[in-house]
């Protein structure tokens, strides 16, 4: 597997910085909890062995005919040979979605409480070298934001930070969870990976879901994209979901940022990672996100290369058929047309009223910080609610109880 980079990410500055000495991305840093787990090895071996060219139309037909989708079937569904069968794949995905979720489509919104970051991820708008406006909400500002969001009727919130332990420590995130508890039924986190005791603390504060994007499962490529910061440590990030479950979280989310590397291999790895974790922890609720690369502030050329809408649909449908019970979130990185169609087929969760900057629900300009990426669907909660209903689906604000 090559480490050829998606050229759209690179700027002259990044090319210079890439030449500098960097720490070993496979060695844990002090303080990072090490789990006794063989999941990473299994996932990486399987991904490395995946050869998309080996699959034929017959393999895809067999996968579609199978009652239960095996790992081999999943791999066939992700191969180029499956593209001519996309309509059938989408129909099968829809069937599985309806069987497991009925007409329910879940709604939520992300809330960015801070955008300080200590990592240098060259494709991300929050990276520590990107000259953007940084901000961090204080508890009063968080509360105000949450009030505004709760007024829209939403009952699920996803709390996000940039990845800075210094500027947004675990206690700070815990405070956000405690405030969120007053206004929301469901609290998810998308923050930097941490140790299981820290996850346990945040669970106590009210959070029950943790999402960590691995970005790419190709560790060599990963190394070239995450030039500095704790995020650079590939295995610590990989094992975040397992630590979260050990910390008592009910559910965990997985994602590869499609377009960073070979998206088919990354999708195989994402699915298998989730599969193995659910097998080891059968009570864990599994979720997928399917983000594609988007332009960022100070680099508007970034694009997801060969992951077109067709391929995106292929990946989302393959996740659904492989793990019919998993929640699948469709990002505001995608436009209205794509999102509305994907909830008909395979996605079960959709964000609305989204802002990916800091303090955007506030009037106080000082509290505001810049966005992580460009969004493509700016519809309000009301508009998304109506769009879901118009498709004969039922918007659901929460189906959850904290026990």
């Amino acid at each position: 597997m090559g480490t050829k980079i998606n050229e759209s990410i690179l700027t002259e500055e990044i090319k210079e910085l890439q030449k500098k000495n960097r720490i070993d991305h496979m060695t844990y840093l002090p303080g990072m909890e090490v789990l006794d787990s063989d999941i990473q090895e299994k996932v990486i071996d399987r991904m490395n062995a995946y050869d998309e060219s080996l699959y034929t139309a017959a393999d895809v037909r067999r996968a579609l005919a199978a009652d239960i989708c095996s790992l081999e079937d999943f791999e066939a569904l992700l191969s180029p040979a499956a593209l001519p069968f996309l309509e059938e794949i989408a129909q099968r995905a829809q069937l599985e979605t309806r069987k497991h979720f009925g007409n329910s489509t879940y709604m939520f919104t992300p809330l960015y409480i801070a955008n300080y970051c200590e990592n240098y991820c060259i494709y991300c708008g929050f990276n520590c070298h990107n000259k953007i406006h940084r901000a961090k909400l204080n508890p009063e500002q968080m509360e105000k934001e949450m009030q505004v969001i709760a007024e829209s009727g939403l009952q699920e919130i996803l709390i996000l930070t940039g990845e800075s332990r210094k500027m947004s420590d675990v206690e700070y995130i815990g405070e956000a969870c405690k405030i969120a508890r007053k206004y929301f039924k469901v609290i998810g986190l998308e923050v930097y990976p941490m140790n299981s005791d820290e996850y346990a603390y945040l669970h106590q504060c009210g959070a029950d879901y943790v999402t960590v994007f691995q970005e790419t499962y190709n560790s060599d490529k990963y190394e070239t994209l995450h030039l500095s910061g704790h995020k650079r440590i590939f295995p610590y990030r990989f094992n975040a979901q397992e630590r979260a479950i050990q910390g008592g979280m009910r559910g965990v989310g997985f994602a590869a940022l499609l377009g960073l590397d070979d998206f088919r291999k990354d999708a195989v790895a994402t699915g298998y990672h989730a599969y193995l974790l659910q097998r080891k922890y059968p009570h864990a609720e599994i979720a997928f996100s399917c983000p594609r690369l988007r332009p960022i502030l100070n680099n508007d050329k970034i694009n997801p290369m060969d992951v077109h809408e067709q391929q995106l649909l292929q990946v989302v449908s393959a996740y659904r058929i492989f793990m019919p019970f998993a929640s699948i979130t469709i990002s505001t990185r995608e436009c209205e047309r794509v999102r509305d169609n994907l909830i008909q087929i395979a996605a079960t969760k959709i964000s609305a009223g989204v802002s990916v900057g800091i303090g955007e629900h506030l009037e106080d300009a000082d509290a505001k910080g810049d966005e992580q990426f460009e969004i493509s669907d700016g519809r309000s909660v009301k508009e998304v609610y109506a769009a879901i209903q118009a498709q004969g689906l039922q918007p659901v604000m929460s189906d959850y109880i904290y026990v």
Binding site: K185, G392, D399, V403
Partner: protein
């Protein structure tokens, strides 16, 4: 208590009895997975008198409260979905009673997110605690006779064995084991989960099940009220067939008059 099979039962006196409450309908409807505005029509066309409700969903409140869509004249059967242990199920059941959803509770303890199979061991523990607290306990379970007996001893009002995994629409994959429960227990046996079509619901009733619970099959039908009605009719037909006593079934062609006992006559002739 169920009627003994030897007693004469007419359709007029045939009631489903759960925790001392009588019901004419033997169709328990799930309320999840629907478009909310179709729930009422489903209940009406199903003729259902009991409707399940996940407390975690009822918890929702706000601008799409599922409770506003459930007709007021039906008995709510709150379930403990979301519970992974007996302790969590007990907590959810108590909360449900606190907020005024009554004494009925369907226990669901699930710590397998893939097949949503019930944890029988934890279910027995939860049943024991909640029955003592005066709940009408209806446990969702995997059809195991020993477990069913333990549930009965723990004070369950019925048992709710699964036909197949939730949402699978596979029908009664556990048929022979459910039959054993029906034959051996004095409690009502309500087939829950996996029923994908009216014919499967009918089959469960013909076997002697006391009631059938269904959700996905109706919620995802092309025409929800029509499918609810089809289930209602199938369940009634199956019940009537059971009460009337199924006829003799000749499985393989005509049978010889006495192929095995014929020799006895030969001895008499000597």
């Amino acid at each position: 208590m169920e009627t003994f099979k030897t007693e004469k039962v007419t359709q007029a006196t045939d009631k489903l009895i759960l925790g001392g409450h009588e019901f004419d309908s033997r169709f328990i409807l799930g309320s999840g997975k629907y478009s909310l505005d179709l729930i009422q029509a489903a209940v009406e066309h199903a003729g259902a008198q009991i409707i399940t409700l996940a407390l975690r969903r009822a918890n929702e409140g706000g601008n799409a409260n599922i409770l506003d869509y459930i007709p007021k004249n039906v008995t709510l059967l709150p379930n403990t979905s979301g519970a992974r242990t007996a302790e969590e199920a007990v907590r959810i059941a108590r909360l449900s009673r606190e907020v005024g959803y009554g004494d009925f509770v369907k226990i669901e303890v699930i710590r397998d997110t893939k097949y949503l199979l019930p944890d029988n061991y934890e279910t027995i523990k939860a049943t024991e605690i909640l029955a003592k607290e005066g709940f009408v306990v209806m446990p969702y379970m995997y059809p195991d006779l020993n477990v069913a007996r333990d549930l009965a001893a723990a004070g369950a009002a019925c048992v709710m064995p699964l036909g197949a995994p939730i949402g699978s629409n596979k029908g009664i994959c556990t048929k022979d084991f459910i039959q054993i429960l029906i034959d051996e227990l004095d409690l009502p046996v309500i087939v829950d989960a996996g029923i994908g079509s009216p014919s499967q619901a009918c089959q469960a009733m013909e076997m002697g099940a006391s009631a059938v619970m269904a959700n996905t099959a109706i919620a995802t039908a092309g025409n929800v009220p029509m499918m609810a009605e089809a289930f209602k009719k199938a369940i009634e037909a199956g019940r009537t067939a059971y009460l009337s006593g199924l006829g003799r079934i000749i499985t393989k062609g005509a049978s010889a008059s006495s192929p095995l006992t014929g020799f006895l006559k030969e001895q008499e002739m000597i």
